[in-house]
Assembly symmetry: C2
């Protein structure tokens, strides 16, 4: 009160400020989301409310809310009176996801450039931090870590545009893309190549080269989608059809 500083802050008690401020349903939702994204749940697998509830030793109500959240995030699909099951992605789903990502990322990048040199520099700095984490993950070698860092980079790009609604829409697409990637254990073409590709994006952004940046993002996503839709390395060049898993 007296100096604009809370008494909690000056007495060093701020560390216990957050004592589990999450509802049960949110925790369940986040845990399940992570399991789906990391591919620990098979596509099409039925998730019975009762089973999850007694597995977690909670009532069905919070489980139900959690499942509903994930349905709205398009990670689960619900059938009336038949419960929910883990989403199954077709090749056209993947194209949709990456096309939508392209829409949001390109617009975000364009808006950052519109923001002037200062905004460009700030965004580039933030992206460099994400890129460092990505390169660390690449060196470490864990698939899940790499893909997560990859998507974090792109999320950072969208976040830098400062439009929370764009970021919200992107987070849904990001989760779906991660689920796709992690389900088919595709080795990234080359870890270093992945880092380089993202580095190119940062350079174009920092330089303010709009057209080059937009094309780089678009190409980057198109290539990624291609790898996901023709993964078996010898399955031929069938573009659209083919169900994954």
């Amino acid at each position: 009160m007296t100096e604009g500083e809370s008494i909690v802050a000056v007495s060093g008690l701020s560390k216990l400020k957050t004592l589990e401020r999450k509802s049960t349903s949110d925790r369940i939702s986040e845990d399940l989301r992570q399991m789906i994204i990391e591919g620990q749940l098979r596509p099409g697998e039925q998730l019975a409310e009762t089973r999850i509830a007694e597995l977690l030793d909670v009532s069905r109500a919070p489980v139900r809310e959690a499942l509903q959240q994930l349905v709205q995030q398009k990670l689960l699909v619900a059938s009336r009176n038949r419960g929910v099951s883990v989403v199954t992605f077709t090749a056209s789903d993947i194209w949709e996801i990456y096309d939508a990502r392209c829409a949001i990322e390109c617009h975000a990048a364009s808006r950052i450039i519109d923001g002037g040199p200062g905004a460009r520099a700030r965004a580039a700095d933030a992206l460099r931090v994400s890129l460092d984490k990505l390169s660390v993950a690449v060196r470490h070698g864990a698939h899940r870590k790499i893909s997560a860092a990859d998507l974090d980079f792109h999320t950072a790009l969208v976040t830098a545009a400062g439009n929370s609604r764009l970021a919200d829409a992107y987070s849904i697409l990001s989760a779906q893309a991660l689920a796709c990637i992690n389900r088919l254990e595709i080795a990234v073409p080359s870890g270093d190549e992945l880092v380089d590709e993202h580095g190119v994006l940062i350079d174009a952004l920092a330089a303010g080269e709009r057209e080059a940046l937009l094309k780089a993002i678009s190409d980057h996503l198109t290539v990624a989608a291609s790898h996901l839709t023709a993964p078996q390395s010898q399955a031929g060049t069938n573009g659209k059809p083919g169900r994954l898993h």
Copy 2:
């Protein structure tokens, strides 16, 4: 079975195929959504689960699910242990919504043009149908009808791109935009002008003029956002701040 035609279809019973296939929570959600969109609920108004439940003579469970859906659609905001309240839009919210709409609509338009002359023609036809409805609404004169028809036109544009995820993301933005428009009973600058502006979009689309189309969409949305954020006609030219309602 025998000829690929269901016996239901050939016996003319298809009309009763859908007999109220909606869950209670979905009906509640849609009704509330409509009320919020049409501005029948004041911004910031508290919505107590108990009150709604006994008002509709149902249990709290389906009401709770409906409210959660609307929270995820960003039409309600939830505070822990304090229930939900109708969303309040600030001027920066409006800019966010219209910026995000611009991202999705421009990308959709671009993809339609990518689809070639056939796709352009189909999309233009669909949009002309929406434009007819809009002009009818304009002649009829009801504000709510006009704004709804306006958004339907843009939704048709996004739908024509054939990306369901893009369409889903757009529907959330569309609802928010409608809520903004209907809350402040802005008379559209001129009904005919509104129709003309959309007609220009169709022409550019049919002609396949990508750059002109993208610019037209962007300008169209920017102008609309400007009208929403400086509505009082004498409130000065303060761009960003200012809380609506």
